[in-house]
Assembly symmetry: D2
Homo-oligomer: 270 residues x 4
């Protein structure tokens, strides 16, 4: 399990989520209170959108609390939309390439959760990718592969629908190959304009997700509230998708789907 | 606060302390039970004695639990005397040069504890070192400086006496410069033949220290027992020094002393 | 291009290849004289065989010349058979998982060379691996994949024949998929008993390989001679395989082969 | 010897010095043409001024050419005044704390050069620092110590004069303690408003320094020209100081001075 925080709104310093709040993301890197593991010390990462279409990204393998670069950058960089993540490794070794957020052209993605039996599903998941997405894979995590799968399934045009198809595909695959399925998935992703998040699980333990207004018309999405002001934080229920755009915050229902066309045409067969 | 383990006896694989036991040192790096901090993820280090007079040393800044090199080395290397440490930083940033054990020619040293107001004492402590020991300092921790101070005070000839003088000097200095004193010090050190340890504090909270027989005639010293076999582990009382040599284990009283000659002749005045 | 050195014989300290000689492997990490690139600073690694069937391994991403751990280990560890490598990255980012030697159970492998158009061949190469070898892949280099391919093709039983088939398969694949082929391959590999090396290229530029006697009845194999004693070093001609075993050194002809059975039965079809 | 580049003017992306030019700073990290060492792979760092009085800073120990974070940041971050450095270590191990630029409150400093016999001068240099500057020292390089010495000598009020006094003090010290003196010093430093640089040596080998206009009314200062447009680059002669401010570029004479008052009142005596 990991912890993450994301923001969309008027530009703010990264530190307003990452280091300054009482229960900031760095605080959560060693004292998470709502996670299976209190310690999230297997690296960290930030993807932030500025003047360019693609995000900047900064990742490293040290615990977030001890990285001076992170503190300095969080204090200097302002962004209108960013994703920040601290990792507790489940699949994949501790190295930069396995740290979230993952980035593919203008898209960024980060994830808290896990896919049971990933080792037995990985190869079939990879076989769904076309050569472009296949070659974009540099790490070994289930998270990166879910991201690439969603991109393959059309995330650029239909973000939430493609994500629902990616999860649905993995669930079906798990049933087929292992006879059972357990997926926990609380993730955020963005194209640099809209910020999406999903909270979902096949069981009753979907990793937590909270939203709160921040700054002038902005919002943040977090694994755990950044402070004790319980009135400010809205818990997003399991089985939900959140969309943060110019229109504000929208919470809709999220459930995995199986899109026949996508699944029937594996990349390798084309 | 940190966690450490040390061994002297017939050669054993490092893993018998570091990775294999139920509550191994790596386990303690994320789930210490008797420490102020459960997480000791600010680096680790091992010093082991083999065929050469000086020890080998391997240190790194990742959490011990995620370092593949450590696992592989612990499984391959056998040693008759070694020190192993996982760090939770108090003074000094997370970098290799601040990871224990510290080594100076044939001597090695590692420490769990702290000196209050170290920032105000550091300069005067350093001024006691002669040029050789001063130039040997590469990090910024209180621990390394205590080690060099003990070497300066005669550790090579009178290990426990010199350590008692080093602690005594620091305590006197703290009273003089800050009007108060708090030192907690549970440390192990060795010349490659004899293994020494000390458990001491100016208050009632001396960091824990346990001893147990291991292998054929060998012993280990640890911050926390490596398993639940409570009969096997002897808690070393505060105010004690432990000496492991060919004669077996010896526990004696330890209290700081002020050796007039050493303190009167600061290095800079010579 | 990279630089490497390997040894088989009576146990010697790693430093006798890695740090001590006038033109040691560390020296070659910044001043290689017979390589396309003089600087080999994208990480390093050592695999050494001791008392266990599987090798120990130590890899890191810093330039070899600045890593204190490497120096200390090379000075302490003695081994009867070891492989040491400094990397100049061609394919794959700078991270531990991409540093040679690669290890799979008792086998180790390191490589200097390259496969042209690897990005277009990679996926088909991976598709030849059965699930066990596929899941053993953790990095993104062509070298690791060649190693796994050779293991898949029977390296454990027929080391040189399987390697010849792996190279032959890649060459055929390159012709099929890209219309051309360029492979340069100077590699060492071992099961902990016998040390094998190959020098081969599809063009006239097979990376150099030299052999010399070392210690009592031992031999070393290196990318570049470790000193100026030109009489001591035998250049291994391109298109050769070297076998170091209890019988001494044997140099035989090496050329890629296409073993019909292996190629006809891709793992995914089984 | 190291390589560096600095800029003052209208905000530009860091990449315009660091990664984009034909002979960018990253290019110089492996192929410097005017340095004693072609390879500058012992870490890198950037200090940039944005909306806050103190600079942001990003440093790491990998070769600059292989660090993905550096590439991404250089592409995203725009700054009106920044310093960038790639290191070839002379004094001090490879670790972040020894990477330039050094920062103290709003000031930043980076250096290419060396002080002969630094090991014998270091302690006396440190003894000139008051407690605040002494405690600000975290690394072991001569460069950081020169910076702190200049701050101690009044850099905040009289930047070039204080630097001249710091160099003068070190030269005098070297003559007194070692009977000889050799200092090579090409450095840049800034308070976030004005950018200063010095090219100086006690012998005929002052490390090179070039200046060129860049962007609208801006200038850059570099160890080596960033491209082959020889007309654009002005070589700054040895024994010079450069001041880049709102008034444009000013080159004046620089020679070390001994300010009696500063040298007579060592910090420890006060």
């Amino acid at each position: 399990m990991c912890r993450w925080a994301a923001y969309r709104g008027q530009p703010i310093y990264l530190e307003e989520l990452v280091t300054s709040p009482a229960h900031s993301l760095i605080e959560q890197s060693h004292c998470a209170t709502r996670a299976k593991t209190a310690t999230n010390a297997d690296g960290f990462g930030i993807a932030w959108y500025g003047d360019r279409p693609e995000p900047g990204r900064f990742r490293d393998v040290l615990p977030a609390w001890s990285d001076c670069n992170l503190k300095s950058m969080a204090r200097q960089i302002r962004s209108r939309l960013f994703l920040a993540h601290v990792r507790a490794a489940t699949h994949g070794s501790t190295r930069r390439d396995n740290c979230h957020p993952f980035v593919c052209d203008t898209w960024s993605f980060m994830h808290n959760g896990q896919i049971d039996h990933f080792d037995r599903l990985r190869r079939s998941m990879e076989s769904m990718l076309d050569d472009g997405h296949f070659n974009a894979r540099v790490g070994t995590t289930d998270s990166e592969l879910l991201f690439l799968l969603a991109l393959q399934f059309g995330m650029r045009e239909r973000p939430l629908a493609a994500m629902a198809e990616a999860i649905g595909f993995v669930e079906q695959l798990s049933i087929n190959l292992t006879g059972s399925v357990k997926v926990r998935f609380t993730a955020a992703f963005s194209d640099g304009h809209t910020l999406y998040a999903v909270r979902y699980a096949t069981d009753a333990y979907a990793p937590t997700l909270f939203a709160a207004p921040m700054g002038e018309g902005g919002h943040c999405l977090v694994s755990e509230p950044l402070n004790d002001d319980t009135d400010a934080w809205m818990e997003i229920p399991a089985g939900s998708a959140v969309t943060l755009s110019e229109k504000g915050i929208e919470v809709t229902r999220f459930q995995p789907s199986v899109d026949g066309a996508a699944v029937m045409k594996p990349a390798l067969a084309s």
